[in-house]
Amino acid sequence: MFDLTTKARTLIRVRGLKMYFPIHAGIFRRHVGDVKAVDDVSFDIYEGETLGLVGESGCGKSTCGRAILRLYDITAGSIQIDGQEIGDLPQAKLRSLRPAMQMVFQDPQASLNPRLTVEGIIGEPLLEHTSMSRAERKARVHELMDAVGLNRSFSDRYPHEFSGGQRQRIGIARALALNPKFIVCDEPIAALDVSIQAQVVNLLEDLQKKFGLTYLFISHDLSMVRHIADRVAVMYLGKVVELAPEEALYSDPLHPYTRALLSAVPEPDPDLTIEDRIILKGDVPSPANPPAGCNFCTRCPAVMDICKREDPEFREVLPGRFVACHRYNEPDENENETAA
């Protein structure tokens, strides 16, 4: 497990990242608004760690992961990988950096080209980014198949001849082909059965140790993220509302949304009754039309007057613990504001 006490080196630095998708309407396709899928998020990812990114459907996790890899032209913000700014780099110039950053997708079925054999799929990035000979590529593909626990004799088979867990291994092998430093894993186990999920998670952990990989692990499965992540970021409606070391976040969540989210996870123990379960009312607002003030104010059990007016700043309230909530601002500030 990654040791947070030793001096951590920042591999990925994200500041003020925004990714808006324009909404067009009418016959002239006028720009009438934006889906604020990612709306001003900032965080670091340390070398060798797994940062978990959790939150409910549509909160912007995938968009955030894809934006960091510059699969989009971002709306605003800065992204540095290993000190190099890539936020404003044109796509043509990104090509040489692509090998260092890879992605593993949710749906192993849809993300693999059905017309290529396993060897073709895993070897594709090698063909594109290296000048390896055929024989060298084959050798590398076999090495990668060993690393992810796929039998080499399967290299001539097609994706549909594999189970979901095996297909996810193929996707992971491909992501590893160019010796990346950083991998965004977007719901890599969501499509897999419970008994297979553990196999894939253990594999990701082993590979991380072996190759010193850094992961952004996106998932809505809070218990799996607890298991795999060193630190966890919680998103709600386009914003990161809390970020903390795994242990602190799960044992003592600070943000009202994190509290509600964790208390909603049913525990597989019939003797455990959760006394203070928080049942949130209502639904998540649309990211095209977020509320004024704090994005969580329409559902927050701890809402105050100020929350409906001012967007709380995302700041470090305890060493290593970041929260965006007026409850954690200076108490006198709050009093003044609520009295106002």
Binding site: E56, V194, H227, Y250, A260
Partner: protein
Amino acid sequence: MPDGAPKVLDVRNLNTVFRTRTGEVHAVNRVSFDLEKGELLGVVGESGSGKSVTMMSLIRLIPSPPAEIRSGQVLFDGMDLLEVDDDTLRDIRGARIGFVFQDPMTSLNPVFTVGFQLREPLMRHMGMNRREADRRAAELLELVGIPDAARRLRDYPHQFSGGMRQRVMIAIALACDPEVLIADEPTTALDVTIQAQILELVRELRQKLGMAIIWITHDLGVIAGIADRVMVMYGGQVVEEAPVRALFKEPRHPYTRALLETIPHVRGKRAERLEVIEGQPPILGAAPTACPFRDRCAAAVEICGRENPALREVGARHRVACHLSDTGAGSGAAPEPEGAHV
């Protein structure tokens, strides 16, 4: 749970087979279970273990072909649902036995208002007129916690969020006061905070209405929170069945035990490494002649590959299908099948 309460549903030796171009799929093999009045039976198992096909078979909602119910009895109120004529069955379905399916968007009809879809069973099965049905429909929406219910009857499914659509589905399933509600992964597509709302609703409704519920899910956390009894399926068969506490505290089948070991938790101690069940689920090409779990079971012995174990009583309302359950090796005092999850 009331002990020895009357049975509302009694399923005996159900077998369902699919005929496909590439051969047969024996999806449901000699499945037997019952459901008592007012209880909630949780059904868990791996993807493809036959949970949905079992429930669709017992109310004959399974498309045939390709499916063929080869044998079995489904006793409901003195009738065998596999034998009754289509009219009788239609009266039972949707009125005395209600359903909720995984994806509310595909099971609600997008071209009709929610009000129409709620009134329809009320007018058809309960003989209500339009006015009465309208009033009852609004009551039902209110019951499942949809604000401004009377007005929302005029809305179409797409005008509701995922969680609300699932509430609407539940309202429709409850419309005629069913004795049995079958819910197939009703919260799987929902976010946890919305799932928590629905589970709370179900707890409330059970107290108010007292119907028996079959709840299919792959989430053991959900089961622990709402079930009275649990049935575990593997490879088209029931491998274990027990009261909820016994299942979590004294699981007897090697698969159930391994399953409980592989899941991470959000509370309590964090495991350094996840336990795994090696291998893949079985391919159900023929009627099983051996234990379906044998290839992945570390406790397997010679007989497991030769004979398919029958369900045996091992405790109060606790049944297990494992060859080791009668030699004592599968009993509570038995060695943990440790190798099963290395």
